[in-house]
């Protein structure tokens, strides 16, 4: 698999505070990578590092095949766009003027494509209105448009739906999905709104206290969070035989437990198990949400 971004044992210290503590992660090309973590977990610090706003105090990262210490890392950066925390826009300029300004910074020969970009983010009717008078959602979309100037392959968004109303959240979500599907842009998106992230992400990185707790694909997460019935029996082999006979979808977890991913008639199951000489010890429904999965990964306590 080709990776846009790889970090290896990344450290960032601010005096005595460890913001990143040996973080290792990989963002596959074409993915929407959801960086999940509570406030202060190190999400924004990681984004600041990969955007070149800060330098790591240890470890390294590789962006489009170039290590961050390489002299030509700037060439990799030209392939990315980012919105870090708040949208970076001139408040005393219109949406179009903000984009023109970024086109000049990028050294693009003409302003061709600005109209298309404004249309893409739904700001084609913003006219000469100054960004100062934009709603939060409009500012956020303009920030994304500025990040998209120069057709980047990799878009980094830090908490893009923070503070937005439900309509704004839907608009940003649809925009990100469109960019990923239509323009094949790889997106790294940090958020602590897990429900929102679960509607977008193809890959997840769970981060806590500056460390990567777990990286997984959306499919793997879905499987981990799938609604199921967890059975505890005296003999999991006998249970497997019974479930095979019933045509049920299941997963054996250990010698005594298994998850069954469909409804099963309890009386038939117990009778069949009894015939196999196996006893049903416990049976409970499990419906793990992304939130509870996250809490189970990072622990529910507050950080010290």
């Amino acid at each position: 698999m080709e990776y846009v971004l790889e970090t290896a044992g990344l450290y960032k210290r601010y005096r005595h505070f460890k913001a990143l503590d040996g973080l290792t992660m990989r963002v596959p090309k074409g993915a929407i990578y959801g960086l999940v973590g509570r406030n202060g977990a190190g999400k924004t610090t990681l984004i600041r590092l990969i955007c070149g706003l800060q330098a790591p105090t240890g470890g390294h990262y590789v962006l489009y095949g170039r290590k961050h210490t390489d002299r030509d890392i700037d060439r990799s950066r030209r392939r990315m766009g980012a919105v870090v925390e708040t949208p970076s826009i001139y408040l005393d300029m219109s949406a179009a003027d903000n984009l023109k300004q970024q086109y000049r910074v990028l050294g693009l020969p003409s302003f061709e494509g600005i109209g298309e970009l404004l249309e893409l983010v739904g700001l084609e009717n913003a006219g000469k209105k100054k960004a100062r008078h934009f709603s939060l959602g409009m500012k956020q979309r303009l920030g994304i448009a500025v990040a998209l100037a120069g057709d980047p392959d990799f878009l980094v968004l830090d908490e893009p739906v923070n503070g937005l109303d439900p309509q704004g959240i839907i608009e940003i979500r649809e925009l990100i999905l469109r960019l990923n599907r239509e323009k094949q842009i790889t997106v790294l998106i940090s958020s602590h709104i897990l429900d929102e992230l679960s509607r977008l992400a193809t890959h997840y990185g769970f981060i806590d206290a500056g460390r990567m707790v777990k990286e997984m694909s959306a499919q793997a997460l879905e499987a981990a969070c799938r609604k199921c019935v967890r059975l505890t029996v005296t003999d999991a082999n006998a249970l497997a035989r019974v479930l095979d006979g019933m045509g049920a979808e299941y997963k054996i977890l250990d010698s005594e437990t298994a998850d069954v991913y469909q409804k099963i008639p309890v009386s038939r199951l117990t009778a069949a198990l009894e015939a196999e000489g196996c006893e049903l010890l416990d049976m409970r429904e499990r419906d793990e949400s992304l939130e509870s999965y996250f809490v189970s990964l990072v622990g529910g306590g507050s950080r010290g």
């Binding site: 600041r48 706003l53 950066r77 949208p87 970076s88 300004q101 000049r104 990040a147 120069g150």
Partner: protein
């Protein structure tokens, strides 16, 4: 860096702070010419060379105000991040900001010279100074402004809060002017008292033979003179009140300040953690 300059100048031409500075300095130049005309009607003789110096105290306020409001916006609006994320190097970002601030301030000073050059010859009695010396003084004034721009750009690139930046730069300039005024006040002390003085018995007597204890001598005088020549705010006062002793050294000090502040600023900005 060319792209950054293109973007910076495109923003500069639309920046109200720049045009306000140009208008202010233009009006200041006009006011100076008007004062010269008023003075000439009362028999006071003004020379064009004098008019070329009277902007210096106003000039020291241009870099802090411009840098705080124009360069400070880059941090305030977060747009400095767009430049770095787009792959622009930190030295390029720093140097383009410096070029912008120096150019803007020189253009504002040019706005002062516009009425002085156009109207000044009609309200003054000639240059009043050798053309070469005047050129040296004008060059020194511009270098002094550039040195101040260098220092203010340094502050703008290292202080990320616009309000703190504005207060810091203005206070620094005011403090610099206060130090300059104090130093030059000491340098201006006469060697001997002048006029009459009352002694212990209450008799008045001629004091012109008495030494002034505040008069600076030897190494101490050299040190004070160096401070006045070196500090950009000290230079502004020297130029403005025609107290220039070492014009070439003042030019050299300005170049040194500009070079050192830029070198130090680029190094510090490279290491700065941006948010």
């Amino acid at each position: 860096m060319g792209d950054l300059l293109r973007a910076g100048f495109a923003r500069l031409w639309r920046a109200p702070v720049f045009w306000l500075g140009v208008a202010f300095m233009g009006c200041w130049g006009g006011l100076v010419c008007y004062s010269a005309w008023e003075g000439s009607r009362e028999g006071i003789v003004y020379f064009l060379g004098d008019l070329c110096r009277y902007h210096c105290i106003a000039t020291v306020f241009l870099p802090p105000v411009f840098c705080a409001l124009f360069l400070g916006t880059e941090y305030d609006h977060g747009t400095i991040r767009n430049k770095l994320v787009a792959g622009k190097t930190r030295p390029a970002v720093y140097l383009s900001s410096l070029v912008l601030s120096v150019t803007a301030c020189l253009l504002m000073i040019a706005a002062y010279y516009l009425p002085v050059v156009c109207v000044g010859p009609f309200v003054t009695e000639g240059l009043g100074i050798a053309p070469g010396t005047l050129a040296l003084i004008i060059g020194g004034e511009l270098l002094m402004a550039a040195a101040l721009c260098g220092l203010c750009t340094l502050g703008s690139m290292l202080i990320s809060r616009k309000a703190i930046l504005a207060v810091t730069l203005l206070l620094a300039v005011l403090a610099g002017l206060a130090v300059g005024a104090t130093v030059e006040g000491r340098l201006e002390q006469p060697e001997y008292f002048q006029g009459l003085m009352m002694d212990a018995s209450g008799e008045l007597r001629d004091a012109s033979d008495m030494e002034n204890p505040d008069f600076l001598r030897g190494r101490e005088r050299e040190l004070y003179q160096f401070a006045a020549d070196f500090l950009p705010t000290g230079q502004a006062l020297l130029y403005n009140f025609n107290m220039i002793v070492h014009p070439r050294a003042m030019c050299l000090y300005s170049v040194l300040i500009l070079t050192a502040s830029t070198a130090g600023g680029v190094l510090a900005f490279r290491r700065k953690d941006l948010k």
